[in-house]
Symmetry: C2
Subunit: 194 residues, 2 copies
């Protein structure tokens, strides 16, 4: 067995260039979602999945970290957009609990799958804002996995505010234009997601 030094999850090279081209702060929910949807659009053009996310400082709207679905190019089923954004945010701030550093919001172009639902709770964001609904992702063949039917209430009772359907049509347009791989199709019902 070879020696491991760490778990290394790749992020797209173009993400750093893109970050340099945008404002540093996004004061409104709509501006945060517009940015996230732009990011999803670029990601599809660059060979990634049709999903994007970003972590913002809740009050100021400062962008802390972006994320895109990079599962196929990055060769890791962890690399959903929300996971990338949350992991980069934790890496930037230097700890496993974002709540230690203030209040942070996760904005995601599509409602989170079961993996990302867990990840956003453990990362300690105080709010999540979603674009397209899960049914929109399912309509093109991506599965959300086993989530409780009342996952929104489950988040709310943990102190996490949830808003869904923000700029849904724009996010759906990106989903519907996607012609890339629907991965994890070898086991029955296993199509991964955002």
């Amino acid at each position: 067995m070879k020696k491991w030094t760490n778990i290394s999850l790749s992020i797209p090279d173009w993400l750093n260039t893109w970050v340099m081209s945008i404002p540093t702060h996004f004061p409104t929910q709509k501006k945060r979602m517009m940015l996230t949807i732009d990011l999803a659009r670029i990601n599809v053009q660059q060979g990634g999945g049709p999903f994007a996310a970003a972590v913002f400082e809740s009050g100021s709207g400062k962008l802390i970290a972006p994320g895109v679905n990079w599962v196929v190019p990055g060769k890791s089923s962890l690399l959903h957009a929300e996971i990338m954004a949350l992991a980069l945010a934790e890496q930037s701030l230097g700890n496993y609990e974002l709540a230690q550093f203030g209040s942070f919001e996760l904005v995601t172009s599509v409602e989170p799958c079961c993996q990302c639902l867990g990840a956003l709770i453990w990362a300690g964001v105080v709010s999540v804002v979603c674009g397209a609904h899960s049914e929109d992702a399912q309509a093109i063949g991506f599965e959300e996995g086993p989530r409780p039917a009342d996952w929104i209430q489950e988040l709310q009772k943990r102190g996490i505010a949830v808003t869904t359907g923000i700029m849904r049509p724009q996010s759906v347009e990106i989903l519907q234009s996607y012609t890339g791989e629907l991965y994890n199709s070898q086991l029955p019902g296993l199509n991964s997601n955002d």
Copy 2:
């Protein structure tokens, strides 16, 4: 915003040394769980959380990758035991879908939290074997997060076999001896898990 090169999740240095000291193959379910519980015990001694996991080749029992809960030392809420084992397995095999390379089993000292439930599905293992029950982790203050009540059936209907309660008393002993941090306690109800 600083430049990102990748997402780097640390693994404990001692894990490589430990791997050199054990057999390469674990043919039975019990041997696989014994190894996993040993790993959880060592992890607590080394400052990690009271949870461990490992990915094995289903038929031969070859150990593909171990994992431990390294959230606090590794400064990442992603670093649950199952996530570490699955990510190292994908990294070792070189792709995001383990099922492309054969049949793989995830053995975990405690039933998976919601984040890891999603991760094991998207990683493409064909079976999961659990030691302690979720209620055992909850009894010492760790939360499993929002999972469907029928999460076992949800796995089974996706073609993933589930066995729970293997060597439960030994895993519970490690949980009960744990005196370290119960992280993510700043938001109401937010205690992360394995």
